[in-house]
Amino acid sequence: MLFCFYAAAIICLVITQTVIMASIPFFDSFYDILIPFIIYLGLFRSLRESLPVVLLCGFFIDGLSGGSFGLYSTTYIWLYICCKCVIRFFHAENRFILFVAVVLGVILQNAMFFGIFFILEPDGRQDIYIINFFQSQVICAFITGPFLLAGFKQVFTILDRRLYSERS
């Protein structure tokens, strides 16, 4: 059941990102909605359960994206590592962390993209469009990020309850 749930979740998130959000003009500059999902997995789920999911998310998005293969996997894995490091020092339920986690995730992803583009194409032109895009992503993450995290938490609570009742 857990496997089916994760497969469905990945497909839904990838389709939402590449088809549904792409067809709505407002969501053109929305952030990567897999970020809150990866953050949730990093903060609340075990390594054995969540790491394959993180790798699969990266694999699918890399395949559909025009960037170098592995770019999204890289950002997701580092984001995941950061989350695992954070929960060594802070409690995962800390409200402040939940409030800023998605914003920090979006900043980390964009910073990694900037850094990787700078290393791979030092003479590439990064114009004002990317800055505006980054700004709107951060604003969207600030407004909607905590709600998405709370949503994932709610869904996983229901899932855990069902799994527990199945086992017992």
Partner: protein
């Protein structure tokens, strides 16, 4: 010998360096078996959802917009909503007829064999400009084939699965097209600028290029046929020094509204493309 902190720092540095090396290797090979597998798994879902969305959109356009009209005209509600619904349906059919005729006329102007395809998905991020189309290997699509629309060229096929393909748009930073300025035949390399615009690189300073000049394909890249429209020059900067001038080009194609595209299947001229892209 080393403290735990040192080991962690060295481990992190090794991971970062390995990561950068791996990415620089994969960036040289735009197409991967893994990428194709991902398209093979995800594209049918994208296709289904994309069609459902279009269906819902047509319901929204044809029916729900009429509800307020129907309320105001209770007496004629049934007749009126039926009439407008039918009218809207005809209008939609007419619009799609015009669009497809336009495509057909364009197809006649091309001497090459072409195949029409529908856009079913877009790139997950605005950092890259790619689309997924509903035609693949089974329809004769090969990696490297040019993709065009009546307004101009759209991009190039970079990944092909059985029934779906990924197209790198000309506005992507990784895209390059050999071009000519139509009026003066000044040559340059058109590269995407990630902002919906393109940059004409390596156009010599001595060449006469002005705003509103049309830029067309030169055919010298062996990918796009010669003479296809790309865009118009929107800005020219000639600095006091340097060999080249800076030229911004706005594509004629509105990539936000791309719904149908045509892939040129001129296999006789493009047999080398598949191997070129692999290399």
């Amino acid at each position: 010998m080393f403290s735990k902190k040192t080991v962690v720092i060295i481990g992190l540095i090794i991971m970062i360096v390995a990561n950068i090396v791996a990415l620089s290797i994969t960036s040289r090979y735009p197409s991967h078996e893994y990428g194709r597998l991902s398209i093979f798994i995800m594209a049918p879902f994208q296709d289904a959802i994309s069609n459902s969305l279009k269906f819902l959109e047509s319901i929204w356009d044809n029916y729900f917009n009429l509800i307020s009209v129907a309320k105001e005209n209770k007496m004629l509600k049934k007749e009126l909503s039926n009439a407008i619904e039918r009218n809207n349906f005809c209008y939609e059919a007419e619009l799609s007829n015009i669009r497809l005729r336009h495509l057909l006329n364009f197809k006649k102007t091309l001497t090459d064999e072409v195949i029409a395809a529908e856009v079913i998905g877009k790139d997950p991020s605005a950092w890259f400009q790619t689309i997924i189309i509903d035609k693949g290997n089974a329809d004769g699509i090969l990696r490297g084939l040019p993709v065009v629309v009546p307004d101009g060229i759209a991009g190039q096929v970079t990944d092909v699965a059985a029934h779906y393909s990924k197209v790198l748009l000309i506005t992507d930073g990784n895209s390059s097209v050999d071009t000519l300025v139509q009026r003066t035949r000044a040559r340059g390399l058109l590269q995407g600028a990630r902002s919906g615009l393109c940059i004409l690189k390596y156009a010599l300073r001595k060449e006469d290029v002005i705003s509103r000049d049309t830029v067309v394909t030169s055919g010298l890249d062996g990918v796009f046929p010669k003479g296809l429209r790309i865009g118009y020059v929107s800005k020219v900067i000639k600095r006091n020094s340097g060999l080249f001038q800076e030229v911004d080009v706005t594509p004629y194609v509105d990539f936000e509204k791309l719904e149908e595209v045509m892939v040129i299947l001129n296999k006789t001229n493009l047999t080398g493309i598949e191997t070129d892209v692999k290399d």
